[in-house]
């Protein structure tokens, strides 16, 4: 099966700092890929390049065969790629329901009634149906992040990007968000998850990728990577985070 995402020799500089130093990556349709690594290793930059929230300087990225670059085709890519952010980024002036309805109406041209029915169904799926008429500011962090997931799902994307989705949450709320993501993974949507939750990566990931210094140090199945890492840097990282 042809990969849904292909990255070839992707490089990205911020001034003199090289954030990505030649990334080659293929993600298969339906795969759940978890990206781990120390902060500043380029993992967020990597997924932000996939929907061009960050431009890249060299190389090539394609989503479903469409090259990711500024211009008309970019909308087509972004329609197929949903994103969940560390800081939720819900629209504070719209109700939860409107947050989820907006993009399908504007971008997919759904009728309001249709968009609402779908939004309510998705909110039910992430366990927020009672809060539909509230504003994001009235919800807890965990609830906001679940709304953000519903908002991304409403576009029926083929790929979902998660940029440290639980890093801004209070510890007691991490579980509810991971549960939603876990059930999503079973639906067969392609997911790329940048995370510090090693338990989630081990249980849910089809493949885990360890990044450091803007490069992919190694990747493999969770068993391979967590139980018998080949690279010294991976071992050092895992040791440091699993120690406490």
């Amino acid at each position: 099966m042809a990969p849904i995402i292909t990255m070839t020799s992707v490089r990205k500089r911020f001034g003199s700092f090289e954030a990505l130093r030649g990334i080659d990556l293929e993600v298969a349709e339906g795969e759940v890929l978890c990206i781990i690594g120390p902060s500043g290793s380029g993992k967020s930059t990597l997924i932000r390049c996939i929907n061009l929230l960050e431009t890249y300087d060299e190389g090539r990225i394609a989503v479903d065969g469409i090259e990711v670059r500024p211009g008309k085709a970019l909308q087509a890519v972004r329609r197929e790629v949903g994103m969940v952010f560390q800081s939720f980024n819900l629209f504070p002036h719209l109700t939860v329901l409107r947050n989820v309805m907006l993009a399908p109406m504007r971008v997919r041209g759904l009728a309001p009634a249709e968009a609402e029915a779908k939004a309510r169904e998705l909110l039910k799926r992430v366990g927020i149906s009672e809060q539909a008429e509230k504003y994001p500011g009235q919800l807890s962090g965990g609830q906001q992040q679940r709304v953000a997931i519903a908002r991304a799902l409403a576009m029926e994307p083929r790929v979902l990007l998660f940029d440290e989705p639980t890093s801004a949450l209070d510890p007691e709320m991490v579980g509810e968000v991971l549960d939603v993501m876990r059930s999503l993974a079973r639906t067969g949507v392609t997911m790329i998850v940048v995370t510090h939750e090693m338990g989630f990566a081990r249980q849910v990931g089809d493949r885990v990728l360890f990044m450091d210094g803007g490069m992919v140090v190694e990747s493999g199945t969770p068993q391979q990577l967590f139980d018998s890492p080949r690279e010294e840097r991976t071992r050092a990282f895992l040791k440091a985070i699993l120690q406490h």
Binding site: L53, R78, N89, P92, L102
Partner: protein, 223 residues
């Protein structure tokens, strides 16, 4: 008693009130037209200033700086008395509206810019990631939030525009102030001037109170 007869003469007041009200109507027309046109111009300029190609951004900045520097009275006199030399002859109302709009637009642009810049980056990123076009992002997400933030300074600017309409009396615009000075000459009594002053305060005071209320509410932090 002499004081009351001079400044608060009931007979003069009653006689000149219709004239003053006609002037007030023109003042309001002028104020409302300039405020609306200034808002449109300001929004357009702020978007150019923030998002256009660099040369256009530069031009927008130059425009904004110039029209915030020029005294309104000078601009008004240039438009009304100097432009006819190049064949552009505007009515007093058009000249006053143009001058007020050009200046108000520059101030409004800076207000909108501050509002848009106050919106977190994440709001832009979430909109783009969902596939919204730039226009949809501005209309549905960014501007509604930005406008809410800048309502107090925008209202302040509206107050200034209405006040500045009084300058239009120098180009023979029969606004409230002009009618009042004429009525004063006619009646040989300053009561109409006092009445005009009271009318200005009466229509602007509520707006001033409103701005303070907005600002107090913002400080408490509604959300």
């Amino acid at each position: 008693m002499r004081l009351i007869d001079t400044f608060f003469n009931a007979r003069v007041f009653a006689e000149t009130l219709p004239l003053l009200l006609r002037g007030l109507w023109i003042t309001i027309e002028l104020g409302v037209a300039s405020i609306i046109l200034g808002l449109i111009l300001g929004l357009f300029l702020s978007l150019l200033r923030l998002f256009a190609a660099p040369p256009l951004q530069f031009l927008a900045r130059i425009y904004i700086d110039i029209f915030r520097s020029i005294p309104l009275l000078v601009l008004l006199i240039v438009i009304y008395y100097a432009l006819p030399f190049v064949g552009i002859r505007l009515s007093p109302f058009a000249a006053a509206t143009a001058a007020l709009t050009l200046v108000s637009g520059a101030y409004t642009a800076e207000i909108f810019r501050a509002g848009i810049e106050a919106i977190p980056r994440g709001q832009f990123e979430a909109s783009m990631a969902l596939g919204l076009s730039w226009r949809q992002m501005m209309v549905d997400i960014i501007l509604p939030q930005a406008v809410k933030i800048v309502i107090p300074p925008l209202t302040n600017n509206c107050i200034n525009v209405v006040k500045d309409t009084a300058l239009a009396s120098v180009v023979a615009m029969p606004d409230l102030l002009k009618q009042a000075t004429q009525a004063q000459a006619l009646a040989a009594n300053p009561t109409p001037l006092i009445a005009a002053a009271v009318i200005y305060v009466a229509i602007l005071w509520p707006l001033v109170v409103l701005v303070s209320r907005f600002e107090r509410k913002m400080k408490v932090g509604s959300r």
